[in-house]
């Protein structure tokens, strides 16, 4: 037998896909002369990823014109922006949706809903001219303009806006948007170009490497610790009774960790077809089971998989999402155990599914600063039983049993729901759990789930969806099936909305109040970024026609105008989600899969 012949291939390299292919060496050289790159220590960077490489491949130069909106509050983004020349303004308070060119969600009444229903168009995807482009609207000005090769959205009457709102001006050398880029959190404020300015957009991969430079990193981290970490920590229910002083010490000792790839959605289609064992193996390990607990992991964004070794593979026990805690039981047990009892080790491994951004509180800090301020009722079950055993020793049996009873009947004795489910979402059926994690359905905040044992396939849901959307259903009844559940391909309004990354005009936006992600037609330029980004293929691009069925075309290229379409949760309609209310057999539900109780309860109801 001959040895199999090797095939020489080029190894895929880090920068196969530059952020901007038009970046030239001249640009890089010019950038090297400007701060903060001029101060950076070239040797601090690994040889594989030199500073010039970062500037070349992970950066893009933008020219912005006055009034252009650079980032919008609430958007997600992968990039930070560095002001090279000119000035930009950060708006401290929020701009209205209209100012950003979005159509605010308007609650319509019965009459108008009925009128819309009756005036359904017989052509698919019809739009009025105003809906097709904001530029055609009555506002008279070009809200969307082509800047160089990209469409950009402009504020109308920018001077007045800047006058009316409290703003912070950023000048050359200043960086903004890095927190949202690094930690996958929504942008906290809107940034508008004040003058014509040159910006360097740095994608998060580059930003991360740039942190090799100590001063740069320190600046970033200092900024984060000062401004954002307290906010994030305060959001964790377990820490809500922590005194200010303890909090400060916790902040000081908390470490920030990031695992996995932020663009998990790019590889999702491949990985979801992987066998589970391979998939789990490929996921970055955060904490391995069997270690002695050293820190409490708090998931800040992204997803984690709790698993333990089972036979030759791994058994998923739960998945973690934003706000979930890992290791709390072990740590509390160890902290409260009598000295005679051995310390427990991490019972599960934690792996990053896609990417995981975590805060780690060292066990010592936790024991001294946090634990005394946790309500006993909010402690995990293990710890409570442990405590209970102590008290049993001390007290008479009868007393204690009556205590137990009173504790059980005491409503304050129950942990609040936030805390109770803080250590991950899990289901009775491991298969379901694995399935959900494998398909990243735990991302769904408002996933559409159909109970196939009740669904008569009447398609009333699709029909209803069409009826309230001018005849255009925003989903078709297909999707992954697990046993009796079908996870329909309809927008899940994800907790990690990858679709919102990269929208040039901010047409796809999340409503702060409801969390619903919707597309604003009039500023959607039909670029298809969101469609490509959505791993679940829940966004589709549609060529739009006018009410008489004539297609809209671009006046320059003659190409058909396309708009991204997806489920908008029937926002503003009096009926609420039409699909749910149209199901005659209680088979369809919109449900939050990032937590287990909703689905568990729903399944219990129909068992």
């Amino acid at each position: 037998m001959e040895p199999t012949q090797a095939i020489p291939v080029q190894r895929p390299s880090r920068w196969d896909e530059p952020l901007d292919a038009s970046m030239t060496d001249a640009d890089v050289a010019w950038l090297r002369t400007r701060g903060p790159f001029n101060a950076m220590d070239q040797s601090a960077f690994p040889r594989a990823t030199p500073l010039t490489g970062i500037l070349r491949y992970d950066c893009r130069l933008h020219r912005v014109e006055p009034g252009e909106v650079i980032v919008r509050e609430g958007d997600y983004g992968n990039s930070a922006f560095l002001v090279i020349t000119g000035n930009v303004r950060v708006l401290v308070d929020s701009l209205s949706q209209t100012q950003l060119g979005r159509d605010p969600i308007r609650s319509i009444g019965w009459g108008e809903a009925l009128k819309r229903f009756l005036k359904r168009s017989s052509y698919p995807e019809t739009r009025t001219p105003e809906q097709v482009s904001i530029n055609l609207g009555g506002r008279g000005q070009q809200s969307i303009r082509q800047i160089d090769d990209r469409p950009a959205i402009f504020l109308q009457d920018v001077d007045a806006v800047l006058r009316r709102h409290e703003t912070v001006s950023l000048g050359p050398g200043e960086l903004f948007g890095e927190v949202a880029a690094m930690y996958r959190s929504p942008r906290t404020s809107t940034v508008v170009a004040e003058t014509e300015a040159a910006l360097l957009e740095i994608r998060w991969q580059g930003l991360r490497i740039l942190r090799r430079d100590r001063t740069f990193a320190d600046t970033l981290e200092q900024h984060y610790r000062e401004h954002w970490l307290p906010v994030h920590l305060r959001e964790i229910p377990l820490l809500r009774y922590l005194p200010e002083e303890n909090m400060r010490r916790v902040i000081a000792s908390t470490e920030l960790r990031s695992y996995g790839r932020m663009e998990w959605n790019a590889s999702y289609k491949k990985t979801r077809k992987l066998p589970p064992a391979e998939q789990i193996e490929s996921e970055p390990l955060v904490v391995d089971e069997g270690q002695l607990p050293t820190e409490l992991i708090i998931v800040r964004s992204g997803f984690g998989r709790m698993c333990l070794r089972h036979g030759a593979g791994h058994l998923t026990t739960a998945y973690l999402g934003k706000g979930h805690l890992f290791g709390i039981e072990e740590i509390v047990y160890n902290a409260l155990r009598p000295p005679s009892m051995p310390a427990v080790r991490y019972q599960n491994s934690l792996r990053a599914v896609g990417f995981l951004d975590a805060l780690a509180i060292p066990i010592e800090t936790f024991a001294t600063e946090v634990l005394p301020h946790i309500r006993r009722s909010e402690l995990p079950e293990v710890a409570r039983s442990l405590q209970h055993r102590f008290s049993e020793k001390r007290k008479e049996r009868r007393r204690s049993s009556s205590d137990e009873r009173s504790e059980q009947t005491n409503p304050n004795g129950k942990p609040s729901p936030d805390v109770r489910h803080a250590s991950g979402a899990s289901f009775d059926s491991t298969g379901l759990l694995e399935f959900i994690v494998q398909h990243r359905l735990n991302n769904g905040r408002d996933a559409m789930v159909i109970d196939l044992h009740r669904c008569t396939r009447c398609d009333d849901c699709v029909k209803a969806c069409g009826d309230v959307h001018d005849g255009n259903p925003r989903f078709v009844r297909q999707g992954f099936v697990h046993e009796r559940l079908q996870f329909v391909q309809a927008c899940m309004h994800c907790s990690d909305p990858v679709c919102m990354i990269g929208c040039p005009t901010g047409a796809i936006a999340r409503d702060q109040g409801t969390g619903v992600i919707s597309i604003h037609d009039s500023i959607c330029v039909g670029c298809g970024v969101c469609e490509a980004a959505c791993p679940y293929e829940n966004i589709s691009m549609a060529e739009v026609v006018d009410p008489k069925g004539r297609p809209y075309v671009d006046n320059e290229t003659g190409k058909a105008i396309r708009k991204a379409t997806k489920c908008d949760q029937c926002s503003g309609l009096p009926s609420g989600p039409a699909c749910v209310s149209a199901c005659p057999h209680d088979a369809l539900v919109r449900i939050d899969l990032s937590e287990s109780p909703p689905l568990t309860h729903w399944l219990e109801k129909r068992s």
Binding site: R120, S122, D459, G466, G471, N472, Q478, S540
Partner: protein
């Protein structure tokens, strides 16, 4: 190869399930946008076509089939269906519905004048007016409000006495009626269109009771008690079952003729005189001929004795007699004699004489004080009146008597049989015989000559033969006579009358007078009839056999008198009359009742009863099971029942009352049924 390895592209999205058309799945088809129907499109097409077909069929049916066939909410009950079977379809509905027109157009128009004020009830009564009085047709129970109030009170009292008010059961939850009791439509109870087998008279207990203010639960538990039913209302015939069964026919002891209920109460269908009765129904009232005659005929004839006086001349003292010309010397002596009740009745027409008569105690002149001139004078007046009466009748015949009766306010209709049988010639002959020459002129002195025989044969037709037949086989002859009388009550005794009137010569037949001269006059009329007794100077009637029409007439005449009238009492005390009224005790009442009433079949009775279904039960086949005769001991024990019976002013029956519990043994919901309608009827129409 596993199926899931097959890699199919996902089916195209962009569904528009609300649209009618979608792109054809055949991608390779010609370019001109091939399209196929979506399910919605197919569904719409099917729905449209089906509805169109249905509408067309409906219109075709309406156009071709008569409306009455199309619209018919259920079959009619058989009787109605039979009646309407021949009717033209259009009239079928109109027979009961005032909305005669079936054309859909007319539904929305006024019915027109022809139907104004015509209700469905009027249409019901168009046929049923014979059974139901039209003026009371819509009143509850077809009786006026006042009667209903009385009935209500009676029921209330009865249930109060029974102590059954409000005994715990569901009946207190029966709702109040939704109908006006003075305007109860026929259709309220009689529901039509429930099929050929539908019972038009079906009523539930609740439905019956909904109008009633006193309500009962089950029959066994809370129906009001009754008093002595079923015997309490009988009594027209005095008959004791007790004595008959225990004294007269104690056969069950001795082995001789047994007392058998069926002897007198046979099956109605097998009994000859109850034509058309249904098998199983019992003859309620025994006929005389069938049941009584064998024992009672003879004694009754004996009791009848010499008969009844029409007129008899009292014996007057000489002074009194002197005042009356022609007073027969045979009637002069000590004041004696009896003024017969019939005579007294006729004399009452003259108020003066009636006063005198009243002074005669019991009509017995012998009891008047002797040698009292006033008495003598009064007697004389009476005698004169008697003389006048005889004269009057002699001259004016029947009309004289009728006039007198009318004068004292007595209906002559019942007396007519008497008049018809009484030949005026008899009076005339008496007048001639007794008063002789003074017949024409009362002032003439009395001549004691008797130009004729001392009595006349009245039943003159072949007396020997009749006499002998009477002696030989009285029963048969009587039977014939009786039948005659019964069949022709209005022209009674044609033999007597006709012969006398048409052939007066025969009565003067000398040989006859010669041969029977010494025989007592009464014995000559052994088969009954009028005769003149010259010994006692009286005209009498000798009744014979059962149901003698003359006796009936006289009894009914006297029955019209006031109960306190001593004359009435005297009449009915007479042994001859007593022979009738000892059994027919109700003959004395007004109007006279001769026969006992059967208790079934009268439309105005609230309660109905039929033996028929009961006798199918083997235990009940023995009459005694229910009808126990009352012994002496029982009557003591039954003091309470007796008291109850006596409170209703009726004679205690010789049967033990049938109490409710006895009925309820079978009549409960699980056995024979305890529906109201089992025993009660709604329509109390007369």
């Amino acid at each position: 190869m596993r199926q899931d390895k097959l890699d199919f592209p996902p089916s195209p999205g962009g569904d528009r399930p609300g649209d009618r058309w979608m792109a054809s799945p055949r991608s390779g088809d010609a370019g001109q946008s091939p399209r196929v129907l979506t399910w919605t499109g197919r569904r719409r097409r099917v729905v449209t076509v089906t509805l169109l077909v249905v509408s067309v069929v409906v219109f075709l049916v309406i156009a071709t089939v008569p409306s009455a066939t199309i619209i018919r909410p259920g079959e009619l009950a058989t009787p109605h269906a039979q009646i309407l079977a021949g009717a033209v379809t259009k009239e079928k509905c109109a027979a009961c519905h005032t909305q005669a027109s079936l054309s859909p157009v007319s539904w929305f128009l006024s019915a027109g004048d022809s139907h104004r004020d015509v209700t469905q009830d009027d249409l019901c009564l168009k046929c049923h007016h014979r059974m139901i009085p039209e003026n009371l047709a819509l009143a509850a129970h077809n009786v006026p409000l006042s009667v209903r109030v009385e009935l209500t009170e009676a029921v209330r009292l009865a249930s109060k006495n029974s102590g059954n008010m409000g005994s715990g059961s569901m009946h207190r939850f029966i709702p109040d009626a939704a109908v006006d009791q003075n305007k109860v439509s026929c259709s309220t109870c009689h529901k039509e269109h429930h099929g050929a087998d539908g019972d038009l008279r079906a009523m539930t207990n609740d439905q019956c009771q909904t109008c009633h203010s006193s309500r009962f639960g089950s029959f066994a538990k809370s129906h009001p008690d009754w008093n002595g039913w079923p015997y309490g209302r009988g009594g027209e015939i005095a008959f004791s079952h007790t004595t008959h069964s225990q004294k007269h026919f104690p056969g069950w002891k001795s082995g001789a003729r047994e007392f058998n209920c069926a002897t007198c109460h046979p099956d109605a269908a097998s009994s000859s005189h109850a034509d058309g009765a249904r098998v199983g129904e019992v003859v309620r009232v025994a006929s005389y001929k069938h049941s009584c005659q064998a024992c009672h005929e003879e004694s009754m004839n004996i009791q009848a004795g010499e008969g009844l006086d029409f007129v008899s001349l009292p014996t007057l003292s000489a002074e009194s007699a002197r005042e009356i010309p022609g007073w027969p010397t045979a009637s002069i002596g000590f004041a004696d004699g009896v003024v017969s009740p019939l005579l007294e009745l006729l004399l009452r027409a003259d108020p003066a004489v009636s006063g005198s008569l009243r002074r005669i105690p019991n009509g017995d002149i012998a009891r008047l004080p002797v040698d009292d001139p006033a008495v003598d004078k009064r007697l004389a007046r009476v005698a004169a009146e008697i003389r006048k009466l005889i004269n009057d009748v002699d001259q004016n015949g029947q009309s004289a008597i009728e006039e007198r009766l009318l004068e004292i306010g007595i209906s002559t209709s019942v007396f007519r049989p008497v008049l018809r049988s009484l030949p005026p010639q008899l009076i005339e002959s008496a007048n001639q015989n007794w008063f002789g020459d003074s017949v024409d002129s009362i002032d003439q002195p009395l001549i004691m000559a008797s130009p004729r025989g001392r009595f006349r044969l009245v039943a003159a037709d072949d007396g020997d033969l009749l006499g002998s037949s009477l002696l030989n086989s009285g029963g048969d002859a009587d039977g014939l006579l009786e039948n005659d009388l019964l069949r022709q009550p209005d022209d009674s005794s044609p033999l007597l009358e006709d012969q006398l009137l048409e052939d007066p010569l025969t009565v003067q037949a000398e040989p006859m007078r010669a041969t029977v001269n010494d025989v007592p006059a009464a014995s000559l009329v052994g088969l009954g009839g009028w005769y003149r007794d010259d010994d006692r100077l009286s005209i009498r009637y000798h009744g014979h056999g059962h149901a003698d029409p003359v006796m009936v007439g006289m009894i009914e005449t006297f029955a019209q008198l006031n109960d306190g009238d001593p004359l009435k009492q005297r009449f009915f005390q007479g042994s001859f009359v007593a022979a009738c009224v000892s059994c027919h005790s109700a003959a004395k009442s007004i109007p006279s009742r001769w026969t006992a009433q059967a208790k079934i079949g009268k439309q105005n009775e609230f309660t109905k009863f039929s033996h028929r279904p009961h006798l199918n039960v083997s235990a009940l086949g023995d009459c005694v099971f229910c009808h126990r005769t009352r012994s002496a001991k029982d009557s003591v024990n039954d003091a309470i029942t007796l008291a109850a019976v006596s409170s209703t002013n009726e004679e205690p029956s010789d049967f033990m009352p049938l109490d409710r519990q006895q009925c309820a043994d079978c009549h409960n919901a699980k056995a024979a049924g305890d529906d109201c309608t089992t025993c009660h009827r709604y329509h109390l129409a007369p």
